[in-house]
């Protein structure tokens, strides 16, 4: 039987299993059906809900403008799937080609898509994490609980970690009129993602909006009262503040533990796959029946020296899911590469922040349009003399242009005249990224090196 007839049979009557029933999982399923897949489709998700959207959870939902239960993802089409919701996948048997569920069931597949995303990194001290008033924010339930809490009588909220999510939570709290302290281990908010120069703008913005922002500080302990309610936080400078809510925003952890021992290249930095979304095994050999997409995946990108990129971006999940779905049911020559240019947005403190490319790779920065002092600008990042990224505050409409510049490998700094350019000559400066080895809240774009596998494969020369 030729490979082509295999694909035909697969498209007609194959069994496709999707693990992770969220953004990437749903969009992949829709694409499969759109492209004529008529076999059986099983959606496995450990959350009890049908796919919903996460970005509103730290924005409108906290303000009560959208109820968390109203964040269901719009459906592009009917997907005619069997839904296994509320049960986690607990293991993968590649030889038998089946997924083991936590309740003991097994689900066989011809093609598997792994879209298990990430979860919030919990507070490091389990007893403190269990205090009433300590929250993380990743799921619909997290958001609903936090919203309920914030709507009650709250004296002060502590946000731990000033990455995008933490900053958005702080912004929502200020909009609700609540007192907020933000503690950030790094020198400024958003430094991991955008660097210290732009971080300083975010810093000013937060203070202007009334946030008690403390940078270069970590929270050392959370203290509860006798009935287990949070009442105080201890900081690394020796001080303590009285708080009744703490939102732990220390970045995300990839949901790959269930793949332990399965032989696929999965670990804390994600699941390595090729540009066609096919998952690597631990030996660096690409599989042909297992695919990955969304926050959990990392794949090589030619624009960034073929380093493996892990992207916690909404747009990436959609695009990668569509590519993975397409490739799952295609013969080799029809497969497409996932070459999405990273794009991320956030809204906080009345400002729309957006970035394209990989800012954290930047070794230089110029303010190409607008002015940092006005909190309205486009900053362009250079890497070895070419444009590698751009970030804007209230300037999102320009980023399409810089996206083209990045894709074209345009020279840095951009010397041409543009509208709203404030200086005759642009002076490149150091974007001031912290040492990537120092832990902070974590960037949403991570370069994860060249190796598909984090496990070392022992090299044993064959005997003659």
């Amino acid at each position: 039987m030729s490979a082509d007839t295999d694909v035909e049979v697969l498209r007609r009557q194959g069994r496709i299993v999707v693990v992770g029933a969220s953004l990437a999982g749903l969009r992949a399923a829709e694409t499969l059906r759109d492209q004529g897949f008529t076999g059986s489709l099983t959606m496995i998700g450990d959350e009890p809900y049908e796919p919903y959207d996460r970005p509103p959870l730290s924005k409108q939902a906290l303000l009560g403008r959208a109820r968390p239960e109203d964040t269901a993802l719009p459906r592009r089409r009917d997907i005619d799937a069997e839904w296994r919701l509320g049960v986690a996948a607990a293991g993968l048997d590649r030889d038998a080609k089946l997924v083991r569920l936590a309740n003991g069931d097994t689900v066989p597949y011809d093609r598997l898509l792994i879209a298990t995303g990430t979860r919030a990194r919990p507070w490091f001290h389990p007893e403190e994490a269990a205090l009433d008033g300590v929250f993380v924010l990743r799921t619909r339930d997290d958001s609903a609980r936090l919203h309920r809490k914030l709507a009650g009588a709250v004296s002060r909220v502590l946000v731990i970690g000033a990455g995008f999510t933490g900053s958005e939570v702080a912004s929502a709290c200020r909009e609700l009129g609540l007192d907020v302290t933000v503690a950030e281990r790094g020198p400024a908010p958003l430094v991991g993602a955008l660097g210290g120069v732009i971080g300083a703008v975010a810093d000013r913005l937060q203070r202007k909006k009334g946030v008690d922002l403390r940078c270069g500080i970590s929270v050392t302990a959370l203290e509860g009262d006798e009935v287990g309610r949070l009442r105080r936080a201890h900081l690394s400078d020796g001080s303590a503040i009285d708080v009744d809510v703490a939102v732990v925003s220390l970045g995300a952890m990839r949901n790959t533990e269930w793949l332990a021992g399965s032989g696929v290249a999965a670990g804390p930095r994600g699941i390595a796959c090729d540009a066609g979304c096919r998952v690597f095994d631990v030996n660096g050999i690409v599989t042909d029946d297992i695919y990955a997409a969304g926050d959990v995946a990392r794949s090589p990108h030619p624009l960034f020296d073929y380093q493996f990129l892990a992207l916690e971006h909404w747009g990436n999940a959609v695009e990668q899911a569509e590519i993975a779905a397409h490739n799952m049911i295609c013969a080799g020559p029809d497969r497409r590469p996932h070459l999405w240019l990273p794009m991320f947005w956030s809204s906080q403190f009345g400002v729309n922040i957006k970035s394209v490319g990989v800012p954290s790779l930047g070794d230089q920065l110029v303010v190409a349009q607008g002015a940092l002092a006005e909190e309205r600008f486009v900053a362009v990042y250079g890497y070895r003399g070419r444009v590698i990224a751009a970030a804007s505050f209230d300037g999102a409409k320009w980023l399409g242009f810089y996206e083209q510049q990045i894709a074209a490998g345009a020279p840095f700094p951009p010397e041409y005249r543009t509208v709203d350019r404030r200086t005759e000559t642009l002076h490149p400066i150091d974007p001031a990224f912290p040492d990537p080895h120092l832990p902070t809240h974590g960037a949403t774009v991570t370069l994860t090196g060249h190796s598909p596998s984090e496990r070392r494969v022992a090299f044993v020369p064959a005997h003659a």
Binding site: Q369, A371, V378, D394, F401, Y416, R417, V419, D420
Partner: protein
């Protein structure tokens, strides 16, 4: 055909009724240099890319001497340009300020609040069709509504509205790069002066006695000169465009009887139908006043710094590389990201208002009026090549329902 003649043909009145074959020819050279050194861009992806390119300016003051500088008030007038002819940061500051009383996030309900009055205007206009067997859709229907809408937005007292109709007319022709036939520049200038004098009084009154409308809300935050320029801009940008949109929709539907029938059974077709009209017969055919601030490489051509650039929206909207079967009017088109309202930072400020007007006017027109057909096809057009639309649209009607 030598280069340069195409622009002359596009602006030639003889081609007003159907410029689309010329646009098709134009797309053969996506970025085309004219003899005077201006560049015409006519393909979808190139127009979209340039409209979002920070090296392109709407401030015609950046043009080298010798080129027309539309939108730049004579220096002796002491007037500022309206925000459509400015670049950031001035543009963004003005647009943000003016948006505050107009739309979200600060005033998400302002436009909704106008619906009732505008619906009443539509009803009155249609009631007047009673007993007639022939009407001029332009004069009797499309024309009055947009001026009323802008007067309500500004907060102009009802009794002064008739004067705005006169001014709107005269000013619209000033948009035409080759105006003249209409009595053009002098008439426009006089209207601009009269309207300016009227507005200065009105703004002063609003400052002392705030009332409804955005002028009252803006008076404390803006100079009278900026406010005056803004009011004139809203009238120029929001009047004839919307008139043309209503007329073009009527014309297009009457040319497609099958769709007209379907629309009468499926009123929800209004949304995609109106968007398809904005693609197929866009009221603003092209944007002739942008200027390159730097050399721009696009589609294998370099547009040199300082060149005037014309973005041909109507040609881009029919680019077969973007729209399948582009000359077909097809409201079922998916993913209809037309450029009728432009794109980028100068994206139509009044788009939400225009859509409200269109959605109040068009479905009601086709619900109440039983048409027997066009009396003239093509109808006579206005001289204006940019704000292109019928001057009259005579139709035969069989009756009117309540």
């Amino acid at each position: 055909m030598t280069s340069g003649t195409l622009v002359a043909q596009i602006t030639d009145y003889a081609n007003r009724a159907d410029p689309y074959p010329l646009y098709a020819e134009l797309r053969g050279t996506p970025v085309r240099r004219e003899d005077d050194g201006s560049y015409l861009v006519s393909t979808y992806y190139e127009v979209r890319s340039l409209a979002n390119d920070p090296r392109l300016s709407n401030d015609t003051g950046n043009r080298p001497a010798g080129y027309a500088r539309p939108g730049q008030p004579a220096p002796e007038s002491g007037l500022p340009p309206s925000f459509i002819f400015t670049d950031p940061p001035v543009h963004d500051r003005l647009r943000d300020t003016i948006n505050r009383p107009f739309g979200p996030p600060h005033s998400p309900r302002f436009l909704d609040g106008l619906r009732g009055e505008l619906a009443k205007t539509v009803t009155e206009l249609l009631d007047a069709f009673e007993g007639k067997d022939q009407v001029d859709i332009v004069e009797d229907f499309s024309y009055p509504l947009p001026v009323t809408a802008i007067c309500r937005v500004l907060g102009v007292p009802r009794e002064d509205e008739p004067r705005f109709h006169v001014w709107a007319d005269a000013l619209a022709s000033s948009i035409d790069p080759h105006s003249g036939e209409d009595g053009g520049p002098e008439k426009a200038q006089r209207a601009r002066q009269d309207m300016g004098a009227y507005l200065i009084d009105l703004i002063e009154t609003k400052r002392r006695h705030p009332g409804p409308g955005i002028l009252s809300a803006l008076a404390p935050d803006m100079t009278p000169a900026d406010l005056e320029a803004t009011a004139v801009l809203l009238l120029v940008a929001g009047h004839e465009t919307t008139v043309n949109a209503i007329s073009n929709t009527t014309l297009t539907l009457l040319r497609h009887p099958d769709l007209l029938q379907r629309f009468q059974k499926e009123p929800e077709l209004a949304v995609p139908l109106i968007e398809e009209v904005l693609r197929y017969e866009p009221p603003v055919q092209f944007v002739p006043w942008t200027t390159a601030l730097a050399d721009i490489d696009i589609a294998g051509t370099t547009i040199p710094k300082g060149s005037p650039v014309w973005l041909m929206l109507a040609a881009a909207n029919r680019d077969p590389k973007r729209f399948q079967d582009p000359d077909r009017f097809d409201p079922d088109r998916k993913d209809n990201e037309h450029l009728g309202f432009y794109t980028g930072i100068h994206y139509c400020f009044g788009a939400p208002l225009a859509r409200i007007e269109l959605h109040l006017a068009v479905p009601e027109l086709f619900r109440r009026v039983k048409f027997s057909g066009l009396l003239e096809d093509p109808p006579p057009y206005r001289a204006n090549a940019v704000l292109r639309g019928p001057r009259h649209l005579p139709v035969a009607i069989e009756g009117l329902t309540a």
